[in-house]
């Protein structure tokens, strides 16, 4: 009885009305706007009554899983619990306009200011901007700070290369390109950490920066980080810290103390703001004092009891986003930090790491090889038992009620299953997950047909991605019905 789920357009009927605004005043739009300026026909938006809108989106949501419904150990994404209190908190600021007199927005400016301070404290940085809209946007901001710094020292022309480990998240090299740099990959060593010797060899006066995640995307802490950073600094190379993995070490260690010069954070990961199906996020950037003059405008500063928008930053790289960033996301992160305090943040990281290591151990016993099987941080990378594919394990997991891990990343591990349980999952959940993984391994090896055709119980089953890529259908058209 499973039928195609209709699109919102297929539910539409000409002339049907939903939410009605107040009746508009009589208007002669041709004369008010100019006949030549009017569109020929109204946009073919759906015409629905309110109930149909509600049913459509309610039922769509029932074809979707989230952290609220399922264990969602998507590696590198920190799918932790998003407290509902923060939705209420953010709503308190919904009616604030970015251009209202700053004296009438002191509460909001105070939140920005204090969050800047908290994040500086947590990362060990000297100054923070909250403008970037997401992690990758933060990366770009950070790399532009570094570039401006080199330029300010007359080394802009000379330093054209950014080093990125081969295990890095794709956004790192993509960012370096957008920042105008050439990207050079640095291999990982057999221990899964950056190959320090290879890195040393790559360093030089042509190198602007190294982008690093620590713990890295294998979930491993780069144990030689201090040496590595010293070596780079000696060559005038700046160190960029991709903070997407900060959830592992909050309160235990600070990128600033390691020697990093710039860092971005993902408020939507580490600081528990919801992922929204893919965003919006917020990617604040912290900088050491020597990079601080280049931070984007405006930042928020305090003068006595007043909070001000500071546009007077002559060395600034400029603006990265309209207004002041994703403020409503900041409110959530602010609330999170205020609720947890220093001890709570530290406990949170420790338990994220405990969960990951426990799961690593148990999964290894359950037959999943762990390519770098040592103390990990908030996540780790496993592989399916010989003979199974990561994709099939992922699809089989769907029928067991789990969102699969990140698969086929990092690229340096074959058939990678990158698993990040986060600290908000309980031991029972991890134990049940291991049971499911063990069963999948066993059954998948015994019955390759079964696993190749999983999932069976989801709203749709495996989808034809090949055709979608060859002949993408990117919008609904009436002809198609």
């Amino acid at each position: 009885m499973k039928r195609d789920f209709p699109t919102v357009f297929e539910r539409s009927r000409s002339g049907r009305r939903g939410t009605r605004p107040p009746a508009p005043p009589k208007a002669d739009l041709e004369s008010l706007l100019g006949t030549a300026n009017l569109r020929a026909a109204p946009p073919r938006l759906p015409e629905l009554d309110e109930l149909s809108v509600v049913r459509h989106y309610t039922n769509l949501s029932r074809r979707q899983v989230g952290v609220d419904t399922n264990f969602y150990p998507l590696g590198s994404c920190t799918m932790k619990y998003n407290p509902r209190a923060y939705e209420a908190a953010a709503a308190l600021f919904g009616e604030l306009h970015p251009y209202q007199d700053p004296n009438t927005a002191q509460g909001a400016l105070q939140i920005i200011y204090e969050l800047q301070q908290y994040l500086a404290e947590i990362t060990g940085m000297d100054a923070v901007t909250l403008q970037p809209a997401a992690g990758a946007h933060g990366e770009l901001t950070g790399m532009l700070l570094i570039r401006a710094y080199h330029e300010s020292r007359g080394e802009g022309e000379q330093r054209r290369v950014v080093l990125v480990p081969d295990s890095a998240h794709g956004s790192n090299p993509a960012t370096a390109s957008m920042a105008g740099y050439q990207v050079q990959e640095v291999p990982s060593g057999p221990d899964g950490e950056v190959d320090l010797e290879a890195l040393r060899a790559a360093l030089g006066p042509h190198v602007a920066a190294i982008m690093l995640t620590n713990p890295n995307t294998l979930g491993l802490f780069e144990r030689k980080i201090l040496e590595l950073i010293d070596a780079a600094h000696e060559q005038g190379v700046q160190l960029y810290y991709d903070g997407a993995n900060l959830n592992a070490i909050m309160g235990w260690a600070r990128p600033g103390d390691m020697g990093f010069d710039a860092v971005h954070l993902n408020l939507h990961k580490t600081f528990s703001t919801p992922h929204g199906g893919g965003g919006p996020g917020s990617g604040p950037v912290g900088a050491k004092a020597h990079l601080a003059p280049f931070l984007p405008v405006p930042t928020v500063k305090r003068e006595g009891e007043r909070y001000l928008l500071d546009y007077d930053r002559p060395q600034s790289i400029g603006r990265m986003r309209s207004f002041y960033g994703n403020f409503a996301v900041m409110v959530r992160a602010y609330a999170y930090i205020r609720m947890l305090g220093a001890e709570g943040l530290k406990k949170t990281s420790a338990l994220a790491v405990l969960n990951a290591n426990y799961l690593r151990k148990r999964l290894s016993w359950a037959g999943y090889p762990i390519p770098y099987d040592r103390l990990c941080k908030h996540e780790f990378v496993a592989q399916p038992p010989e003979g199974l594919k990561a994709l099939d394990v992922a699809k089989a997991l769907l029928d067991y009620g789990y969102h699969p891990p990140t698969i086929y990343f990092p690229l340096i591990v074959k058939e990678a299953l990158m698993i990040e349980p986060t600290e908000t999952e309980s031991k029972e959940t991890l134990d049940e997950y291991v049971r499911a993984m063990a069963e999948i391994a066993k059954r998948g090896l015994e019955d390759p047909e079964w696993i190749a055709h999983t999932p069976y119980e989801t709203p749709v089953r495996r989808l034809d991605e090949v055709t979608a890529n060859r002949h993408p259908v990117l919008r609904w058209r009436p002809e198609e019905t």
């Binding site: 015409e47 998003n82 604030l96 209202q100 009438t104 770009l140 103390d257 609720m339 426990y358 709203p459």
Partner: protein
């Protein structure tokens, strides 16, 4: 309080599994010299306390005032069903729909959103969303430069100044050249482009609210082999000729007016739409319809080879997390109003803006700085600096007169009208402004 479920017993058992006794051992591989800094942060609070604290902070903001502020973000009415639906946990707490079998909710919503944006803009395809209007503009221009393999950009001063600032930052990074053409009489003057120019950018209604005639620019740009990036407030597209109809190649803008709370400027979402031929240059995520193994219709992420996680240093953009939930809100808003409702919202705004402009321009010393036809925003030339006037109005319970940067002229202030304003509001603001200026 924190959100960890671990009982003391759980922690003990799990540590034991690892042969450990103390959580500290989990950090044994960190250099001891950087371990366990003392963080100087306020003491932890309970949910009740933190909400009370935030309520106090919120009370330090003045939000009860009637607002006529604009500049691309405006106080529109959001139908209650929109946040109610968007806040459903499945939408709120999912991430990028990498696993389509359990992500049809988000995927289909994106597919529908892409269609709606294409319909609004009169272009062929849109993506899953970008951060905001400013970044969308930067991505749109970079896209045009990639396609034309040129490095010159010409931008009308009518484009939102903050968008131009962001664009400058992005263009500087890749070493592109940007030239700005100043407004004349509030409108973009005719211009010629040479063959170094890959992208030409204009906005209509422009920053000071005037409806531009983009035809000459578009003709000149195409003549020179450049692509046209058109910045448009999505609400204006309920009524105005679309970027597609004018002949633009790329349309970008900010989605706040479509059901998103102002939230002090974010998060909203950026939209981008392009002609079919530019499809493979699009940054960010795209969702395609397809079929499952049982023949049922479904949706998947498509053409990911443009994206960072596949293409890495050669990706079309580094964008990863976008603005899914706020874009979803946009789609929900459009679905609840429909074309008729959207046109009504826009019509009321247009009429009120005209009424307001007429009413305020009557005040001594005040002059309308935006040429007709204007849409829902306009600039006034005031006898005093806009900052002062804005502050004085706020003290009287009105948010209005957003300062226009000096590059546009002296003492200019921006005003916007929406469907939330009625005759009494216009009268009230008129009186308040008259008082402030008297």
């Amino acid at each position: 309080m924190d959100f960890t479920p671990h009982t003391a017993d759980d922690v003990r058992t799990m540590l034991a599994e690892l042969g450990m006794q103390d959580l500290r051992e989990l950090y044994a591989d960190l250099p001891p010299e950087i371990l366990e800094p003392q963080l100087n942060l306020p003491e932890p609070l309970s949910e009740q306390e933190v909400l009370a604290h935030l309520q106090e902070l919120a009370a330090r903001n003045q939000t009860a005032a009637k607002s006529f502020l604009g500049g691309g973000v405006r106080p529109h009415f959001v139908p209650s069903l929109v946040p109610a639906l968007a806040q459903r946990g499945e939408f709120l707490t999912a991430y990028t729909p990498y696993q389509p079998e359990v992500s049809q909710g988000v995927l289909q919503a994106i597919f529908e959103y892409q269609t709606m944006i294409a319909e609004l803009t009169g272009l062929d395809v849109s993506n899953a969303s970008l951060y905001d209007g400013a970044e969308a503009l930067a991505e749109g221009v970079l896209l045009a430069l990639r396609q034309t393999r040129r490095m010159g950009v010409v931008v009308s001063q009518g484009v939102h100044p903050e968008y131009r600032q962001v664009l400058t930052t992005y263009l500087h990074a890749v070493g592109a050249e940007m030239r700005t053409v100043a407004l004349e009489g509030g409108l973009t003057p005719a211009a010629q482009f040479d063959d170094s120019v890959g992208a030409v950018v204009l906005q209509s209604p422009n920053f000071i609210g005037a409806i531009e005639n983009p035809e000459p620019w578009i003709a000149a740009a195409h003549q020179a082999g450049a692509l046209v990036v058109y910045v448009a407030d999505p609400l204006s597209l309920a009524l105005l000729k679309t970027p597609g109809e004018w002949g633009a190649d790329v349309a970008v803008g900010d989605g706040q007016p479509l059901g998103n709370a102002m939230s002090f400027g974010g998060p909203h979402f950026g939209y981008i739409a392009v002609r079919e031929k530019l499809l493979r240059q699009l940054p960010g995520r795209l969702v395609s319809e397809t079929r499952d193994v049982d023949g049922r219709r479904g949706y998947v992420l498509a053409l990911a080879a443009r994206e960072q996680h596949i293409r890495r240093a050669k990706a079309k953009s580094n964008i990863t997390t976008n603005a899914q939930l706020t874009a979803l809100i946009g789609a929900m808003y459009l679905a609840s109003l429909g074309p008729a409702g959207l046109a009504e919202v826009a019509t009321t705004a247009v009429v009120r803006a005209h009424e307001l402009a007429a009413a305020l321009a009557e005040i001594d010393g005040v002059e309308l700085a935006t040429p007709q036809p204007l849409f829902n925003e306009f600039a006034l030339r005031l006898p005093r600096p806009a900052e002062e006037v804005r502050a004085a109005l706020a003290a009287r319970g009105w948010h209005a007169a957003a300062p226009v940067p000096a590059e546009y002229g002296e003492n200019l202030a921006l005003f916007a009208a929406t469907e939330r304003h009625d005759g009494a509001d216009i009268d009230g603001l008129r009186q308040a402004l008259a008082e402030v200026l008297s």
